[in-house]
């Protein structure tokens, strides 16, 4: 049982730490009370910081060297994440591109796509966003209705609406899942595209949350025209490409540092008059602490598995359930203990309290995850599916009739 680096990892860590020691002073403040207030300025500064990180080899850690990456494994990615946190500096601006879209292009992209996109993505010259979720499809990615119609010249015209899109407001490209054939069952007939966000017909609208902040965007596509070379992977093979993205997403979540810490919550409680002596407060803090500490060691277990050559299974998603639930409970406890002041905009807790309910439920996330784990990990039988093998067009018609 060893939580420590092996010699090679230790050497890599030392190298990363040394680079960060030299460059941390250049890092912009992008979060918290002393963050750069103007959004455009903040993004520009962050872009510059990512370019700096890329020069230092701290972006695309797991990308092959031929595409400008460091050619390392997920453990090294974790070491970089840990050292970024340790140095108190932000990570790259485009974590979505680096963690998911880039790897998907590396797996499924044409040589031209790799040449065109990977470099600018790595240096944050062009940020990427993910255009999968739709208002009507919710948690059911295969149920998307955005359609791409092939024109006589081989190009496609895309119309539809996407939602829950992070970073869309400053992204150069989006990786978009659209339906190219409605007359086949719904997992089929999907195609993945790389869409310029400044193309004619693309409209981006911020989606404000309970906190009042726009965490996500809606993206409207109205007859957006893209060439045949915008297809990522095969026409009709979009579902397979999406699964690749989701696998990288899982890995990316699994190796990211946990955002909420038991110590930080405890420190607030310790400061509230009378709270420390209150056994109800202690029980609640104890339960929250237990869950968060467990999730931290679950992370160590994942790394140990990765080091042994394993890949994270769907059950690893339970770690996110644990952290989000514990943080929701912590928000409740803190506001109970601190009082209404914790809900003030200026409080560091109001944002957490307001943000989590949406995060927890967006797209029925937790329920779907429990289904998936119940079926894939425990081997429980699936729900009866009424939509299996039914052409998508017919399925939508049924739904409208309310008989599906």
């Amino acid at each position: 049982m060893d939580l420590n680096d092996d010699p090679e990892q230790a050497a890599y860590r030392a190298q990363v730490r040394a680079w960060l020691a030299d460059h941390a002073a250049q890092a912009p403040k992008v979060r918290g009370a002393d963050a750069i207030a103007d959004e455009d300025e903040r993004i520009e500064a962050w872009r510059g910081w990512q370019a700096e990180l890329a020069k230092g080899g701290l972006c695309g850690v797991t990308w092959p060297q031929e595409f400008g990456g460091a050619g390392k494994g997920p453990i090294e990615q974790v070491i970089v994440n840990q050292e970024l946190a340790h140095a108190g500096v932000p990570g790259p601006l485009d974590f979505i591109g680096l963690g998911m879209m880039g790897p998907a292009i590396i797996v499924h992209g044409s040589d031209e796509q790799k040449r065109r996109h990977l470099g600018p993505m790595l240096h944050a010259d062009e940020v990427f966003c993910q255009l999968f979720s739709e208002p009507a499809a919710g948690s059911d990615l295969a149920g998307i209705t955005t359609r791409a119609v092939r024109q006589d010249d081989g190009s496609f015209r895309i119309s539809g609406q996407k939602v829950w899109t992070t970073n869309a407001q400053f992204a150069a490209f989006g990786v978009l899942l659209a339906r190219t054939d409605a007359d086949v069952p719904k997992h089929k007939g999907l195609t993945m595209f790389i869409v310029p966000m400044d193309a004619e017909g693309v409209t981006i609208r911020g989606l404000r949350q309970i906190s009042g902040e726009a965490e996500f965007n809606e993206v409207f596509l109205d007859e957006v025209q893209v060439g045949a070379d915008a297809v990522l992977g095969e026409v009709g093979g979009g579902w397979a490409t999406a699964l690749t993205v989701l696998m990288f997403e899982r890995l990316s979540i699994g190796t990211s540092p946990i955002g909420y810490s038991a110590e930080k919550f405890a420190a607030v409680i310790a400061d509230a008059p009378g709270a420390r002596e209150d056994s109800d407060v202690r029980q609640r803090l104890g339960a929250i602490g237990t869950e968060l500490i467990a999730s931290r060691f679950a992370g160590h277990r994942l790394l140990s598995d990765l080091a042994g050559g394993g890949l994270p299974g769907p059950e690893f998603g339970l770690g996110k359930v644990t952290v989000v639930s514990a943080a929701v409970s912590a928000g409740d406890l803190i506001a109970d203990v601190v009082g209404p002041e914790a809900l003030d905009d200026a409080s560091e807790w109001a944002y957490m309290i307001s943000f989590l309910p949406g995060l927890k439920s967006a797209g029925g996330t937790e329920e779907i995850l429990r289904n998936t784990i119940g079926e894939r990990v425990l081997g429980l039988p699936p729900e009866p599916r009424l939509d299996k093998g039914v052409p998508f067009s017919e399925l939508k018609a049924r739904e409208i009739e309310g008989v599906a």
Partner: protein, 381 residues
């Protein structure tokens, strides 16, 4: 045994619904929390004229005291309607004040009942089985504060102390402060502009519930001749009214969530057909119905068993608070993220739930009082 609404109560409820429908209060609640200066921002509409016109300030005041002489359940019905639409009406503030003035046979009772004077009650909780002090909200922490102190001189009382998070304090004409005068809890009426009184506006998170920190530094007020029972009763009434507001919200949200669960499809089925959704919505119903039963208990105790009012009102607050917390989260959850966006109403109700949970002793304080009353041997009907 008949717990159904009387015709008068049905009428009162309909009238309240009608009066509150004149303004889109939910839209107003959203506009009021937009950042000041933004184009979407608008200050809250002033519903006080509506409140006065409807006769709500005097609902619980006896006819001799200048009011309508109705029962707690009537006031709860109005609170349910106000809660349902997030109407910025200060029931939890003016009604407890009015009951104290009425019990005291105070000269200002009729003016308060008629709404010519907007009197905000400065909440004070009666002792519990463990803590023999009367207490008030502190700014922070789980330890409650002691009453402001008062020194009596004739009819005048000089007050010192602080009470945090007082509903409607920023808008009141007068504050009805509960002070410790030589060991006795004493109600004292203070003019809003009195020297030594400051009200810091600390409205937070939910603009429809204006809040103030009340500070008294040798502020002088007039003694109101109410006894400890009447002063304690005001606390319990406020708990029951908060519970009523909460139930009103839950009854508003459940059909919205149910309707969405019926029309929204995923994986080829309406999401309401999935047990994860269905069972949680049934849980909202269960909590709602329990809370409604507790409202009836509180109202019944108020009329027929005053020795059970502390238990009943605390149970109502505790049960309704839990129902509200659960229902607002579940509404967001059923809506699958859309429920957490600014355009949807659910976040406004969520904000109300989060704030209310921490006011007037908090939902946890109410549960604690339920335990305390049971441990002290009070037997519920």
């Amino acid at each position: 045994m008949d717990l159904s609404l009387t015709d008068e109560q049905e009428f009162l409820r309909e009238a309240a619904r009608g009066a509150l429908a004149r303004v889109d209060t939910v839209a107003a609640a959203r506009a009021a929390i937009e950042p000041a200066g933004s184009p979407e921002h608008a200050p809250l509409p002033d519903l006080w004229p509506t409140v006065v016109e409807a006769g709500w300030p005097g609902l619980l005041t006896s006819e001799d005291g200048g009011g309508a002489g109705l029962g707690l359940y009537d006031a709860i019905l109005v609170a349910q309607e106000a809660g349902a639409v997030l109407a910025p009406v200060p029931l939890v503030s003016v009604l407890p004040a009015a009951t104290i003035l009425d019990a005291a046979g105070d000269a200002d009772s009729a003016a308060a009942a008629g709404g010519e004077l907007r009197v905000a009650w400065v909440p004070a909780a009666p002792p519990t089985d463990l803590d023999d002090r009367w207490t008030v909200e502190a700014r922070s922490g789980v330890r409650r504060g002691g009453l402001p102190t008062g020194v009596l001189d004739g009819d005048q009382v000089t007050l010192d102390g602080e009470v945090a998070w007082v509903p409607d304090a920023p808008n009141a004409d007068r504050l009805l402060v509960i002070a410790d005068v030589a060991g006795t809890p004493t109600a004292v009426l203070v003019e809003a502009g009195a020297a030594g009184l400051t009200v810091e506006d600390v409205t937070r998170y939910d603009a429809t519930r204006p809040l103030g920190h009340v500070r008294l530094a040798a502020a002088v007020g007039r003694r109101v001749d109410a006894d400890a029972d009447a002063i304690g009763r005001a606390w319990h009434i406020a708990q029951a009214l908060l519970a009523g507001e909460a139930v009103g919200i839950v009854e508003r949200l459940l059909p919205i969530a149910v309707a969405y669960a019926k029309e929204r499809h995923t994986f080829g089925r309406a999401i309401g057909s999935y047990q994860a959704v269905k069972h949680h919505l049934v849980e909202v119903l269960r909590l709602q119905e329990n809370a409604k039963s507790l409202l009836i208990y509180a109202a019944w105790a108020s009329e027929h068993a005053p020795e059970q009012l502390a238990l009943a009102a605390a149970a109502a607050r505790s049960g309704a608070g839990h129902a509200l917390d659960y229902a607002t989260r579940e509404t967001i959850s059923v809506h699958g993220g859309i429920g957490a966006t600014w355009e949807h109403d659910a976040p406004l109700y969520f904000r109300r739930a989060q704030l209310s949970r921490r006011l007037l002793g908090g939902d946890h304080g109410a549960a604690d009082r339920v335990a305390g009353e049971l441990l002290a041997g009070v037997t519920p009907a």
